[in-house]
């Protein structure tokens, strides 16, 4: 599970510092992982072999020279379609922010199904609010699904910063939707115009130059689809919920009970995700 949210795992463990996120994320979108990074990610090398790579000036060359992998393994890695975990690992190596031994340890520790770095990050944020600890797990699961949806529908990796978000209201847009029924949850995205347009383009697959009805529809539909997936998942646990129609506002800060604000950093920039127990007022 953690490999899907590898960037978040790196952030939570301090391997990736929040001050570096802004330039590491965009670079990781286009990074091409070398074979030794893929080999380490896939657990094809022993610790001794990784130590040898770490002490080499050119780890990629050392992997070939020392014949650590069979020809079949090499061919298989060359044909690999690298995921975002491998890409961000490559950026950390390139930027000398982590070494191959540390990355190997992170790959191994973040791999099990029971590792949920996004949930952990949200719990940490929620713990800084008075009286909100009971919603930490639920908000965390929503945020995990949200980051997964960004990966799936907008072709971007994303992380939740663990520091409380300071929203910038000026020149901002907010898209929100309430879910009611057996459980009441509202979700909103607050973003500047540039990120709004980028997200609208990515979700719709259209070339939208201005924030018009189409761009607003695109983000409203994105929120609607995510919340739909959320209520379907809840329905599978016998929690029946309904969706309200999404709302869009400008230059507003939402108010609601049990409100938590979290800053999400993606390849294209950052925005604030709000979660609350009742409908947002703005």
């Amino acid at each position: 599970m953690g490999n899907r949210y590898f960037s978040q795992y790196l952030l939570n463990t301090g391997v990736l510092e929040s001050s570096n996120i802004g330039y590491v994320m965009p670079k990781s979108a286009h990074a091409v992982p070398q074979l030794h990074v893929l080999a380490v990610q896939k657990g094809l090398l022993s610790e001794t072999q990784i130590d040898e790579l770490a002490s080499s000036d050119d780890a990629a060359k050392a992997l070939v020279d020392k014949a650590f992998l069979s020809n079949d393994q090499m061919e298989s890695l060359k044909n690999e379609n690298p995921d975002r975990a491998a890409r961000i690992a490559q950026v950390l190596l390139n930027e000398k922010l982590a070494d191959i031994k540390t990355l190997n340890q992170c790959f191994r520790e973040s791999d099990p199904e029971n590792i949920h770095p996004v949930v952990d990050a949200v719990k940490k944020i929620v713990s800084s609010y008075d009286d909100l600890n009971p919603v930490g797990e639920a908000y965390g699961k929503y945020a995990e699904m949200f980051i997964g949806a960004l990966q799936r529908f907008m072709d971007t990796d994303a992380v939740v910063l663990t520091e409380p978000a300071e929203p910038v209201i000026e020149d901002s847009l907010i898209v929100s939707q309430s879910m009611g029924g057996a459980l009441s949850v509202s979700a909103a995205i607050l973003t500047n115009e540039e990120s709004f347009l980028e997200m609208a383009n990515r979700y719709s697959g259209e070339k939208l130059d201005t924030i018009d009805e189409m761009a607003e529809d695109s983000l409203a539909e994105f929120v609607n689809v995510i919340n739909g997936l959320y209520i379907v998942e809840q329905s599978g646990q016998d929690v029946d919920m309904d969706l309200d129609t999404p709302k869009i506002g400008r230059n507003s800060c939402p108010m609601a009970s049990s409100l938590v604000a979290m800053r999400i950093v993606a390849d294209f920039g950052s925005f604030v995700l709000y979660l609350a127990e009742d409908e947002f007022m703005y």
Partner: protein, 128 residues
């Protein structure tokens, strides 16, 4: 039935209508649009489509109310629900009200192709 199926699509999102129109036209359908349940009920009466694709969460009149009204007026018309609100409860409710199928958003092109086929078969069964 004319060779071209006439499909009424109902969704409050202009973007979704545009994308769905493109998919359906690619499949050789004639498309008419409504942006909420109220408009869908009117267009159903005026245009007499062969089938309807209907969202649920819409302002003014929602998809479930529209489904009920359209089915009262025109019990044989095939209606496919296309919504993000695909909970087991909504699925059961809409199928009981006479919907032919339910597609959870986000849809795939293949799901739309299959929906059109189901509408076509239903229209043929009805002998329209």
């Amino acid at each position: 039935m004319a060779d071209k199926l006439k499909i009424l699509i109902t969704d409050d999102s202009k973007l979704l209508r545009k994308k769905l129109r493109a998919e359906l036209e690619q499949l050789g359908c004639e498309v008419i649009e409504a942006e909420n349940g109220k408009e869908a009920i009117m267009k159903d009466l005026q245009e007499q489509p062969d089938g309807v694709i209907l969202d649920i969460v819409m302002p003014e009149v929602g998809g479930i109310e529209a489904l009920q009204v359209i089915k009262e007026v025109n019990p044989d018309i095939p209606i496919i629900m296309l919504s993000s609100a695909g909970t087991s409860q909504k699925l059961k409710e809409t199928l009981e009200l006479g919907a032919l199928d339910f597609i959870q958003k986000p849809y795939t092109s293949d799901q739309i192709r299959q929906a059109v086929e189901r509408i076509r078969r239903k229209v043929e069964e009805n002998g329209k």
